[in-house]
Amino acid sequence: MKFIAPISSLLIMVCSAAVVAQDDLTKMLEQNETKVINYTAATFKGTRIINGHSVETVKAKHMDFLIQHRFGPLNDIDNFFGLDIATLRLGFEFGLTDRLMMGIGRTNVQKAVDLFAKYRLFRQSSGAANMPVSVTLFGSLVTKTLKEGTTAVAFQDKLTYCTQVLIARKFSEKFSLQVTPTLLYRNRPEAKGDDRVLFAVGVGGRYKLTKRLSVNADYYWAARDNNAVLSDRFNSPVSYNNALALGVDIETGGHVFQMHFTNALGMNEKQFVGETVGSWGRGDVRYGFNISRTFSFDKRAKSMIK
């Protein structure tokens, strides 16, 4: 014991007397660096994977203006492969906080208006806090404003509610995957014989080919057991299919441009999860696109540029 103290103190002295180079300075800095939570950014490029929502939300003080188009079926040659027929949804979507967003949209399919809120419950992160997945909660209310013949329909009968739990993980810089349990509650289903409650599970993902281009897919499987007995208001038989969409995302500065093919016509959950009639097998596939433009209302932008 009696030799350890002087020897070790000598040793430390020799070390500390050595030139402290820039690398040691870096180490000293790193020692004082505050550990931060490293949140995974851009699991998806936009707030939609294709038809369905993604875990992403619009950030605080930002607004997304979203234009969605679905054309007619590709097998409709008389209408120039469907391009003569255009259906549209316009949406204004606001970030209230970095985690909470609200949006309103209107589509000419059934003249439906949808109102939704989305909340980021968990964000995938590493560093000071570890979270393997991002979880976002989604709730929406859709009302159909199209008048049907002469029969008056009470307002509450035109309402459909949708709840989703969006669970996603960005596995790598390129690959992200999302699973989306979905519950639809229709006060008055469009088809006769259809259940008010519809459970569905969505699976969506993206793979980045380049920094600004990715391939996306989006599929909603719905738990229907009475598809065979459904009929529309005129008593002709109806059968619904699961919605599948395949497409690409192109990012150009402030825009995200999504182009795709899908068998779904509707652009809200009520319609594409619950009422997709088109079938990939028969070629009832439509070309469509989503364009979003993000606007920032953050006042700092002006004061920072001088």
Partner: protein, 209 residues
């Protein structure tokens, strides 16, 4: 009890002669340790650092002005050797437009691959850091950004005020120097040369535990 303590004292007197040698050695090593502590303390005062330096950058084009600020820049200076290191996490740049921030991290700077920008260099001038005043300073060293390292000489001002050293420097960073690609579609919106302003106030370094 009294007899016992007396006996211990006597015993100690008897054996103390044999251990005199050891006690002297112990004293020597204690002085060593004391000296060491003094040295370490003195050396700590050679270092000045900050963890909240401010770096702001500006991209100005006729179409769009883009700016972002990082308020968590780190710097450390050894006033004896004039060595200086400045570094910052690219993810800590705060943009008023969050979509731009996302694109900056994902596509331009690639923060996951290259998380930090670092300048390692030496201050060229001999400066008396004990005297208050404002001095013109320059530092020469390696500046790395986006995985590309360039030798640079940065010029700026140093204001010394009671053991607080405030460095301010303006520099220009050409995107092509650091292999930062801007796609053709957004070419007009992002300047090819980015103006960077830094303001770092260094105070005596205290190591966090």
């Amino acid at each position: 009890m009294k007899t016992l303590s007396l006996k211990t004292q006597v015993d100690f007197r008897l054996i103390s002669g044999r251990f005199n040698d050891l006690i002297i050695r112990q004293k020597i090593s204690n002085t060593f340790l004391l000296f060491l502590f003094c040295r370490m303390f003195a050396q700590a005062q050679n270092f000045y650092a900050t963890s909240n330096g401010e770096t702001t950058f500006f991209s100005e084009t006729p179409v769009e002005d883009i700016t972002a600020v990082n308020k968590m820049g780190q710097a450390i200076l050894n006033i004896v050797t004039n060595d200086i290191v400045v570094q910052m996490n690219m993810k800590q740049f705060d943009f008023p437009n969050k979509l731009m921030q996302e694109h900056f991290n994902e596509n331009y700077i690639e923060s996951d691959k290259y998380p930090k920008s670092v300048f390692k260099g030496k201050i060229n001038e001999k400066i008396d850091f004990t005297k208050n005043g404002t001095y013109d300073v320059s530092a020469t060293g390696d500046f790395s950004l986006h995985g590309v390292t360039k030798a640079r000489t940065l010029k700026g001002k140093l204001e010394i005020k009671d053991k607080a050293f405030t460095f301010t420097t303006d520099l220009e960073v050409a995107l092509s120097d650091h292999k930062i690609d801007v796609p053709q579609l957004v070419f007009v919106k992002v300047a090819q040369i980015i103006k960077v302003k830094n303001r770092y106030t260094l105070t005596p370094y205290i190591a966090k535990k």
